[in-house]
Symmetry: D2
Subunit: 344 residues, 4 copies
Amino acid sequence: MDQIRVGIVGGTGYGAIELIRLLLNHPVAVIHCLVSRSEAGRSVGDVFPHLRGRLDLYYQAPETDELHACDVVFFATPNGVAMRQAPDLLARDLKIIDLSADFRLRDHKIWSQWYGEPHVCPELLEGAVYGLPELSRDSIKDARLVANPGCYPTAIILAYLPLLRAGIRVQGDLIADAKSGASGAGRGATVRNLLTELSENFRAYGVEGHRHLPEIRQALESISGKSHELIFVPHVVPMIRGIHATCYAEIPGDVDIQAIYERAYGEEPFVDVLEPGLYPETRSVRAVNFCRIALYRPPQSSRVVILSVIDNLVKGAAGQAIQNMNLMFGLSEITGLDDSPMVP
Amino acid sequence: MDQIRVGIVGGTGYGAIELIRLLLNHPVAVIHCLVSRSEAGRSVGDVFPHLRGRLDLYYQAPETDELHACDVVFFATPNGVAMRQAPDLLARDLKIIDLSADFRLRDHKIWSQWYGEPHVCPELLEGAVYGLPELSRDSIKDARLVANPGCYPTAIILAYLPLLRAGIRVQGDLIADAKSGASGAGRGATVRNLLTELSENFRAYGVEGHRHLPEIRQALESISGKSHELIFVPHVVPMIRGIHATCYAEIPGDVDIQAIYERAYGEEPFVDVLEPGLYPETRSVRAVNFCRIALYRPPQSSRVVILSVIDNLVKGAAGQAIQNMNLMFGLSEITGLDDSPMVP
Amino acid sequence: MDQIRVGIVGGTGYGAIELIRLLLNHPVAVIHCLVSRSEAGRSVGDVFPHLRGRLDLYYQAPETDELHACDVVFFATPNGVAMRQAPDLLARDLKIIDLSADFRLRDHKIWSQWYGEPHVCPELLEGAVYGLPELSRDSIKDARLVANPGCYPTAIILAYLPLLRAGIRVQGDLIADAKSGASGAGRGATVRNLLTELSENFRAYGVEGHRHLPEIRQALESISGKSHELIFVPHVVPMIRGIHATCYAEIPGDVDIQAIYERAYGEEPFVDVLEPGLYPETRSVRAVNFCRIALYRPPQSSRVVILSVIDNLVKGAAGQAIQNMNLMFGLSEITGLDDSPMVP
Amino acid sequence: MDQIRVGIVGGTGYGAIELIRLLLNHPVAVIHCLVSRSEAGRSVGDVFPHLRGRLDLYYQAPETDELHACDVVFFATPNGVAMRQAPDLLARDLKIIDLSADFRLRDHKIWSQWYGEPHVCPELLEGAVYGLPELSRDSIKDARLVANPGCYPTAIILAYLPLLRAGIRVQGDLIADAKSGASGAGRGATVRNLLTELSENFRAYGVEGHRHLPEIRQALESISGKSHELIFVPHVVPMIRGIHATCYAEIPGDVDIQAIYERAYGEEPFVDVLEPGLYPETRSVRAVNFCRIALYRPPQSSRVVILSVIDNLVKGAAGQAIQNMNLMFGLSEITGLDDSPMVP
């Protein structure tokens, strides 16, 4: 393939900005079309001065035909948009990677319960592949419609995946105490997300029900074959990027959990299992498509603590979407995703 | 009493700076003497420009006799200093409030295990009162030597106190996933605590054993009368002040935990139990001697999630020390501690 | 006077929140009435959880009669509101302190040029007193309508005041390179002020004309009796509070500028002139009604650099408003404003 | 050339970490040897967990012979180290790019005055090329010893370069009011640079004489052929990366300064002159080797305000060093430096 022509719908949110940054670094993909209702007609460099001179494109209105000339369309839109455009696009010869939540849940009834409206194309849900390569790499390769996982789900599912896949007997509930930078809340103008409100402050939110909860539960169940009680408490950290999930599980005392994780992720290009005694920090994956995981077993305890970090905008969104694109187009999985983390 | 003459040993750390800020606002206490080995001879305003014109004192060397003229001496020193000076001071007619860890553990063997040296005055440990007023107000009133609790312990013990005091049967272990601003690490010069290392970053630390662990365990055991398995994972948040403890426990499903907490803290001047559906943020207690607590029971679950916030430098250190001083000197507990939180 | 009954209109912005924090600490003033169109009917503690238990009031609609029972009304409203309510209120027996810009400019034509609408009560402008006590303390004492200065103007006018008042001959233009924390932009929901947009970022704004420019020019002219060319470049700092103005002027080489400033501010309760070689930082005035100023004369140069810091929400807004109130009601100027800065 | 073997001395500071990040992205350069006295013997991934799996090297002691096998050696050391090793290395067949200040000043007497010790190899100063490509690209191509400019000098010299090169008559002094993120101060452990000291704070520093002052003066004089009075006031911003220089000059009113800058930088790969009305922000160059500049002429004024932003660790250090390397080895100047800025 000479090149992959890429379209991005919802081109002004953080997911889209990050897609642009990463795709400009991709040797095969070329951004062909950017769609934004609010910025239609303006050049990318006008809207985002940091992209001056790097991308000579104008935002298109949603009605544009240019998307049809793409090989793949990324949706970086609010929930509810992709499901309205997907059927028409899939009828053409292109693939879709949806960074929103429209195709993440298999059960349209659960979807509408959490997202507050009926799903408009439930018939597509079965064919949609949940795009976590470490979980379902082969299905992604053949998929035409990929549901890119949420940021919290990526960090938390990767934290529990080897444990559940190995069939370790988990007692009681799972607890995922998760912390995210503010970019997870998107680029919308809200008082809650002002610097003056978030900075020098720390709080939980969505305690009574975050939309990522059913998504994580579904994935965990698909791994172990049984349902898991999951307590999921998200918090917002006064920083821009990064997720740190501190995950707890009760397991038999004689399980060599470190060995299980090292084996499970030994061949994975984007997951690093730290040696015992090391613990990850979010900046160690800043700006890159990577997850670092550490394990801790308190002495005389049946607990295991699993610490997992990602950059929510990369492995938790745009980077993983490109990883999925690479798989869908038969490229090496790491194509365009080999940069080093930005520290400090 | 006309006034309380106060001495502060270890006068240049964040605990001492905060003691000074709060005591300058106290109607009865007067700072009589400040001790710092490193800054002896310099004026307070020279060392801390924000105190120019507010406190006309010079730092004294540790050998000063001025401490003997005090009614109460606060130790805001590194661990290991207070225990060396306390016996001599207690032989005089004054009281001691130790913000360091020297007198927090009743068992000197556990103390030396965690603090890496023998305790030099183990005979004082039994008489020392653990200065958490919500736990042991009456003993504090009569104490001459108060061990001011650590910051994490304050947030976490207050989170579990009503639960354990009410005799609710807790199943399995307790999990305290705690997050602290950087001032908890003190004012020492270390690479790890540079802005360039902490900012835009989030990580756990002390996973394998934080010194506050035995302190919390001891207090929980003193409440319930039995030992508790506690998993304690501290994290550092890129902000200056504030602790948020997210605490988990498994309890019978029919317990009205909200009512228990409201009752337990109903008369407490410095603890606020939020209504169901509200969750605390650290800035809601910024700069004040206050703890806010919320409870959440996930549906169909035997878990309770207890969220607890304090300002680590106030209710977690200097403010609580002054609250203890008020009790020890027969003052109203809120004297000098009635300011409003600083938001934003 | 037993107490001063205070009304606050525009009760949900940062100016109002800070007024509430400071007034709760004031021994004479009592908050009688809070007005907010958007939050009318809700309790203060509901809207601002950090005020739970501290202020038992409900927000009133703007039409409330309760304002009439006040001794003084603070307007912490967007520009254009106070001028519509002031005439009616002044017809009653109360005083007004306007934290917005409605009464700051003497010339209503300049006002409407900068604020984009005609002034509705230009006849009140002459009687309004510009409320910078260091500039016009005596007039404030007798005023019924005080225009509380803007935050940048406070820092910059205090930086130049002694220089101009002393009649030093200034050559060429004045340059005020000013930096402000994000709270200066208020609590409105805008993309530009999200943490994700401001954090880890620094930029100038309003370069081509900030509304504080004519206000500063007017004050400087009133001091020296002649017009000054002023270059004013504001920047936004990724922090919540604080203004640092770095001000430049060209003056004769033989002027003892340090002596002039020390003399000018020697008796001022809220201005501190640092000794040569010391330079101020914004946190040294955090949360307090204070301005710190330092002077630097580069060797062999006719320049003087004047560095001036304030907390934009206190000396730059709410604190100065209370200082004005104290003057207007014959109280000691420092009443309720004697707290120590919050460091760290 | 197959590849460029690179050595880095002083391998644990921020300059070195950034060199590593950028060089890992460079298609021709290969890191051959890393020298650090403090970390000798440890693997890079051990010292910097974010580099785990990316660079399989161990730190060498300074005495290592491995440097001799390099084609180019970068010094990212404290001042005073490079000048001690350079003569020996230059006697071999390799090139040196010094990110420290050892070879930046042509006059060794001025150097020792600012750096507090005699220069040990003043005879090398004349042959050293000041490595600002926009200023002296051709000399850099032929250089064997390049003095990589300081971060402030890069931002400020690029701000004034077209003005002075065009021979515009500047009246009076130049004022450079500069603001830098904290990484400019390096990775040393100091109280001043703790998050708790820098965060939520803004201050000037080095007012009475920053070491970058003579460096900037020397460059400006080399451009215009005459000496310039320069007032340089640096400030520290509570963020990690970025410099914003707000530069002032007085010039004749009829100069079309915008046209001069657009022409001067029209062909430059790493300098962007914004259109009138646009102003740069530091994040628009975050993580990339780029400088953005804007110009503003206040109405009826002879002033011009020049706003210039860079990432201090990239265009202000490691990126510029690689740009210089590209020039010295005959590569396209942008090789390995074509990434997009990281926003948000």
